[in-house]
């Protein structure tokens, strides 16, 4: 595989090192001369000094035969443009962009970038998993379709406690995939399964229905 990495900072460097070590053909594009020298010294002649958004540089780098372009500079707008130009002008089959503002994930997707990676979002998810009071935790975004897997802890005072799964009014395109009860045993629910206090519910839903799903599973009985 031929992978082009845009941005020779720490992320770009370690990514290049790993991919290169696995035997892939790798090229790093970096504007800063000192960073280029460091990469060349450590990893060999796999670095090109230049602007990874500049079409002339992209031509020299051989974007036309790249299997993958990975844009990992510190600026979301530069990563967006590199990936878009890679797709529009060079028909690169797969593009991955690093994003800093987690809110850009959705926007990049709308603008045609295949995959985004956000360190901010990953750290947030870690923190949220450790906060037991947080009512709904996105666990995994499924490729395409806007579906995601979320975890919800059913509070003891929730109105759903004691109800059958089949009787819940879930939002459209949502389903309860797994219920883990308070002592940690998982079960795949049927329509007859009764929701218990402190159940951990793992559900598939559409992103836009997350709030509705949360309110179904966590609203208080006396509310």
């Amino acid at each position: 595989m031929y992978a082009i990495i845009i941005g020779g900072g720490k992320v770009g460097y370690y990514l290049a090192k790993e991919l290169h070590g696995e035997g892939h053909e790798v090229l790093v594009i970096e504007q800063d001369g000192a960073k280029c020298e460091l990469i060349a010294e450590e990893l060999g002649d796999i670095v090109l000094k230049g602007d990874g958004c500049e079409a002339a540089t992209m031509e020299v780098a051989g974007f036309g035969r790249a299997d993958m372009v990975i844009a990992v500079t510190g600026d979301d707008e530069d990563n967006l443009v590199s990936c878009q130009v890679a797709k529009a002008k060079f028909s690169v089959p797969r593009t991955i962009a690093r994003i800093n503002n987690p809110k850009n994930e959705e926007i990049f997707k709308r603008l045609g970038i295949d995959t985004t990676v956000s360190a901010t979002a990953a750290i947030l998810a870690q923190i949220e998993q450790e906060l037991p009071t947080h009512p709904i935790i996105p666990l995994l975004t499924l490729k395409g379709g806007g579906l995601e897997i979320v975890g919800v802890k059913v509070p003891s005072n929730a109105s759903v406690v004691g109800k059958r799964v089949g009787d819940l009014l879930l939002p459209q395109q949502s389903l309860i995939a797994l219920i883990i009860n308070v002592d940690g045993s998982p079960r795949i629910p049927s329509a007859e399964t009764v929701i218990q206090t402190e159940d951990e519910v793992v559900a598939v839903t559409r992103r836009e229905n997350e709030a509705t799903l949360r309110s179904v599973l966590t609203s208080r009985a006396d509310a």
Partner: protein, 141 residues
Amino acid sequence: MKVVIMGCGRVGAALATMLDDDGHEVTVVDVKPDAFRRLPAEFGGTRHVGNAIDPEVQARIGVGESDAFVAVTQGDNRNVMATQIAKHIFGVRRSMCRIYDPIREKIYRDLGLESISPTLVGARLFKEMLERAPEQAEPEA
């Protein structure tokens, strides 16, 4: 017409002033409050400090309710990203931007952005000026 201008540099400030003079409702957004010094004292539009590549900033300054969005910051990529957000997320029909790099400008024009490359426009104007008949030029002393 309600217009949002991103970047209060020379071009942004001049455009904002012209549109304001013509009676349009103009909002100018720039990351540096200092940039607004380029607007005349009698400028009647709105000044916002913020980075308009952030969709939340665009929402706050009312991009969604605007008729046009013009991105004229110094950064091509910033302009491209903000304009695409205005067009595709907020549905602003006239979303346009400056892209210095002529190749990149062509790519985004093909992708449907209204854009101008001042590099190309400037070079063309100089060429035309050079090719103009000599009698139109200043007479030599």
